[in-house]
């Protein structure tokens, strides 16, 4: 991570909101919200990051409480503490690191839906195919056990069923 292109959030900074970086970022203070970076994100030792983090590479020395999405790699050092879902192409965990949450790691892991967005997506009307599948299913034929809709009720007389074609 080159210093010239890295944005540093200092040790005494406390920020709430959403931050987006064109390059890399280093968090040394306290942040709450959401971080999106096209480059790398490093959460330094002593830093507290209650945020979802999305970056190419995420290096954790401090605390992250939130979902982490790394397009390439997540590195948890010995002092790292992560509580949240993790999604990355590769994962490096040092001895002593702590991680609690759901984990998806692999070359295809980042192409799938992000855990945070997946939860939000369940509330959006994305079940169009499912609805279409249900409507495409042909209606079950009437078995005669109950009155079918739009059908006249025919009561058998003299023990014989009327012939519909004759009527």
């Amino acid at each position: 991570m080159s210093e010239a292109q890295t944005t540093v959030i200092g040790r005494d900074a406390k920020i709430k909101g959403e931050m987006s970086f064109e390059q890399s970022a280093r968090i040394l203070g306290t942040f709450e919200g959401k971080i999106v970076a096209k480059g790398d994100v490093q959460v330094g030792e002593g830093a507290v990051c209650r945020a979802s983090v999305e970056a190419t590479t995420v290096m954790v020395d401090g605390l992250i409480e939130g979902d982490v999405l790394a397009r390439e790699r997540v590195e948890l050092t010995a002092k790292a503490r992560v509580k949240g879902d993790l999604c990355a192409a590769a994962l490096v965990v040092a001895d002593g690191a702590s991680f609690v949450g759901h984990c998806r790691v692999g070359p295809d892991a980042t192409t799938a839906e992000h855990p945070a967005t997946a939860a939000a997506a369940t509330n959006t009307p994305t079940n169009a195919t499912e609805v279409e599948t249900k409507s495409a299913r042909p209606a079950r034929p009437w078995s005669g056990g109950w009155t079918a809709p739009n059908q006249p009720v025919v009561v058998p007389t003299n023990g014989a069923w009327p012939n519909p074609s004759a009527a």
Partner: protein, 141 residues
């Protein structure tokens, strides 16, 4: 005077320490009177099992596949093949390049080699990871 070398393992049923001979490959816990598997388990092909438990280590080789509810190993788990079960380990869980792990995982250490695939289970990694299996086994398969 007993000069037989001994070692202490933790019963995976009742979590009590058990002192056994260093050469033993199985034992009975004096606390809960249940049998203990002490040697390392190596899975070389497909293995369906509800629970795979040992006081040693579990190794799933490249062509090995474990389909079950739980792998519990006191000294660690090495995965080169496919594991579709929850993993509770007292040692490091090593997920190698060719491995696929789908299931929950509790271990003090996790080592993931490049190319390994982990899909979606709940992980609790760290020195404070609880090594109890009650919640995992109580969950429907």
């Amino acid at each position: 005077m007993n000069d037989t070398p001994s070692r202490t393992v933790t019963c995976y049923h009742c979590r009590k320490p058990v002192t056994i001979s260093a050469y033993a490959i199985s034992a009975t816990c004096p606390g809960c009177y249940k049998g203990l598997v002490l040697d390392d388990l190596v899975v070389r092909d497909v293995h369906w099992a509800g629970k795979l438990r040992t006081c040693g280590k579990v190794v799933v080789e490249r062509k090995g596949r474990v389909i079950g509810r739980l792998i519990q190993a006191a000294q660690g788990v090495e995965v080169e093949g496919i594991v579709e079960a929850a993993v509770v380990s007292g040692g490091a869980v090593i997920v190698k390049t060719t491995a696929r792990l789908s299931g929950d995982c509790r271990a003090p250490r996790l080592i993931v080699e490049p190319g390994a695939t982990i899909s979606g289970g709940h992980f609790h990694i760290g020195p404070d990871a609880p090594l109890t299996v009650d919640e995992i086994t109580a969950r429907p398969a």
